[in-house]
Amino acid sequence: MIDLGHRWRIWVIASIAITALSGLGVRLAFLHFGSSHDALRTRILKSRHSEEEILVGRGRILDRNGNILALDLPVKDIFADPKVIIDKGHLQFVVSHLARLLNLNGKILFDRLNRPGKRFVYVKRFVKNDLADEIARLQLTGIHFEDHTARHYPQGALMCHAIGFSNWEGVGSAGIEQKMNRYLKGRSGLRVSERDGRRRELYSRRTLEIKGQTGSDIYLTLDQNIQFMVEEALDRAMETHQPKGAWAIVQRVRTGEILAMVSRPCYDLNGFRNTSAEVRRNRSISYVYEPGSTFKAIVIASALNEGVARSDQLIDCEHGRWIYQRRPLRDFHPYGSLSVADVLKKSSNIGAAKIALSLGKRRLENYIRAFGFGKPNRLNLPGEEAGIFHRYSSWSAISSTRIAMGHEIAVTALQMLNAVCAIANDGFLMRPIVIEKVVDVHGRTVFDPDPEVIARPIRRDTAKEMRYLMHRITERGGTGTRACIDGYDVAGKTGTAQKPVPGGYSDTANIASFVGFAPVENPEIGIIVVVDEPQPLHTGGRVSAPVFKEIAEEVLRYLDVPPGEVKPYLQFVNYENRNTDQKNRAY
């Protein structure tokens, strides 16, 4: 029955099948146990491994009253998958809609998306949520969104130089944003996990997750309202005098807090990408200039403090031309003899030079350094300059006479103001501060700088006397009469410095400044106004003193400073001019 004729054929097939299956077994053993696979295994595991930074929001920046100046806003990045769009033939359609809604150039966008091999192209980053939602509703092929936060500055250009900005990656790149980045950025979290074949992170494979902490809020000492007043005043000055630039600072005399810090030209922080470094420059702390006559206040305060001069002591002003060390020194208006008080009031170069000489090089340098010149103030703002002030050992024979009138020394507006504030503050030189406090996300104050005395260049009585001497400058016959305001007594000093040019000083370009404080009896605020190259050429008394007046008037009322009258302190001294010059203008 059973046909055995072909049995061998079955065995042929059976042996082939058994051999094949055994071969597969060997292959499997090789795959599982292969000794050369360790490197491959490591590579595979590494390619799946995912270490992700969990980004946190940046802290806010607020003014001293809690007005928000900088914050993170939720936005969306829009990106495209050109391959999908082109495969479906929707390119033209998608581009036309996007270009219209996002206000982009259609041709450029078309070229950017017309790359069939690409899987990822940014269409536009940082698109506001409502606009992104509108686009999302169109359900365009191959258009995707990613949540993001973007830095927003609700006040636009206000306080732009102080606040600064953070770049696309969320790193502070200017101003407070840069200097306080450490606090603002928070602590990003970390997530260690694995990714699947679609490169998505797998929840079930997380091995480590560290939560991040949102950045801390920075409260500035600056006051948004005062800042606004100062900016308005400077903008008007920019309009009137068409200068290259202008800057001003308002400081609280007793504490050193900066209440306003303005620099012109300025820019909108939300559009920082389209600005030049020149516009972004915070001139009030980074522009180094020769202070000119404003510096006379420092020199005379030093001489009075040291006792080498008295305010009623008469100085021979050589009728406007004095040859010292074979070099001529001129006054803008010639005077015969002036009291020390009037040297300041009339801003006599010759008088100031002689006072400086009586002090001597070494003491002069010590005083100037004690007033904080020649070194930066360690302000919490980037780009602060130290100014230029050489050691007396390298001075020439006439250096003292030139420093007395604010040349051969270069300062920043902040240094100048701070030194004058020291005069207003009974001789205590305060450290200028811009940060009131730093509050972390849990409401804890993590940084709270106290007012700090960094030097005491002059005594209380010298300071008091200087206050009155500087007040006289705003009185009839002084250089700063335009700084006067109703209801308050102010003190200050004008300065008009020719700008240095190769080979000497320019006759056509100057820096006009005014630095002062108010009220005289009980100084509350110090203000400096600097105008760079006013057109037409004008003095600090003409250009900057009126700006000072505008600012001081508004700020004093805003701060509710009680008006006070000058006590008749110096009435016994006869300050009346012996060489009366009726003109108010002076060098």
């Binding site: 099948a17 094949a20 299956l21 292959r27 499997l28 599982h32 491959l40 595991l45 699947d196």
Partner: protein
């Protein structure tokens, strides 16, 4: 001895099916979640099919296989009709460019799976019918080759290259066992190979698959993506396996992780013990099938039994060969384990026939002894 072989065979099938369900639960959850929002989608479907398959298998094992001999021609024609229907657009259900499925209500059915068994039955019937005339050119070669050829062409144009190859090889093996002259078979195998090479050259996709197979690193992101990731699965599995359900390759690194490439995930999750046991089980299945077939007195039963044994074992071997990177990629499922309803049902029907053959033999032998 026959009952022993039969019990072992049934045991092997049960183990393989159990493993298949467990691994399907593990591998298909990711795809199910993504595609149907239900991680158990594939598992549920497969369990329904399994119930059907078990029922079919039991029923078939109770029906005398000799009926199949009489039904061979109608069955073959029936499968031809279905294979033609599949090609008609609108009737056939197209997936990834291949018309392989017929939609029967909620269930999809692959006529090529049916064609496997009907072709085997008809070939076994014909070869046992001509017996010693198998040496004859016309009866031993032309007629069986013609019947086989129609099936092959119909499946080839679906296209389903893997199944075509499988049926061709097993069909010719049945003719070989049935007594067709080796010379004839050799020449037709040669002609078949030429057609095979022509088919590869004609289709750029198949050609790329071959090239990618020979040079996988270069095509790592395209044609060789599956291949390389299947190999990676075994490598990661290492000597212990990463543990049931812990596979990473199934998470979109290895497409078709629950169908054609499920064996790679077995290797990754359960390690070499499981993957080698699977190979050993198929080897065991082959030996049992071989034993049953060679110990039957009926030539038809022997050819049919051998055909069934071969078609299941060869399919498993080709699948494992592909997954382990030993063969170029083809679309063949791993019998008993891969997801796929009609494949499971038809495989189980074939197992039922095999069991029936073994039972008839026991009965006749028993009768003789009595």
């Amino acid at each position: 001895m026959m009952w022993k072989a039969r019990s072992i065979l049934v045991g092997i099938v049960l183990i393989l099916i159990t493993l298949g369900i467990v691994m399907l639960a593990s591998t298909s959850a990711v795809q199910g979640q993504i595609r149907y929002d239900d991680p158990h989608y594939f598992l549920k479907h497969q369990l329904i099919w399994l119930a059907l398959a078990t029922l079919a298998s039991v029923v078939v094992s109770r029906i005398d296989y000799s009926i199949l001999r009489k039904l061979a021609v109608p069955l073959l024609i029936f499968s031809f009709v279905l294979l033609v229907l599949v090609l008609i657009p609108g009737v056939g259900h197209k997936v990834k460019g291949s018309s392989r499925w017929l939609k029967l209500g909620p269930l999809n059915f692959q006529p090529s799976e049916l064609a496997k068994i009907t072709t085997l039955i008809w070939l076994a019937g014909w070869m046992s019918h001509i017996r010693r005339k198998a040496q004859d050119f016309k009866k031993g070669l032309l007629i069986p080759l013609a019947g086989l050829g129609v099936t092959l062409i119909l499946i080839f144009v679906e296209p389903d290259f893997g199944t075509t190859m499988l049926i061709a090889v097993v069909g010719m093996a049945i003719m070989f066992i049935g007594g067709t002259q080796i010379g004839y078979l050799f020449i037709s195998a040669l002609l078949g190979s030429i057609c095979f090479i022509a088919a590869i050259l004609e289709s750029p996709e198949r050609l790329r698959r071959i090239i990618a197979f020979l040079n996988p690193e270069k095509y790592a992101q395209n044609e060789a993506f599956q291949l390389l990731n299947a190999i990676k699965a075994f490598v990661i599995g290492g000597s212990k396996g990463v543990g049931l359900g812990q596979s990473m390759q199934k998470r979109f690194y290895l497409p078709e992780a629950h169908t054609d490439f499920i064996f790679a995930i077995i290797g990754e999750e359960l390690g070499p013990i499981a993957s080698m046991i699977v190979v050993a089980l198929f080897l065991g299945f082959f030996i049992c099938g071989l034993y049953i077939s060679t110990h039957t007195s009926d030539l038809f039963a022997r050819l049919l039994g051998m055909g069934i044994t071969m078609i299941i074992t060869f399919q498993a071997a080709i699948n494992i060969g592909v997954v382990t990177g030993s063969l170029p990629t083809k679309g063949l499922a791993l019998p008993f384990i891969s997801f796929g309803g009609s494949s499971l049902v038809m495989t189980m029907v074939m197992v039922g026939i095999l069991i029936n053959i073994s039972m008839r033999e026991t009965q006749t032998l028993g009768n003789k002894k009595l």
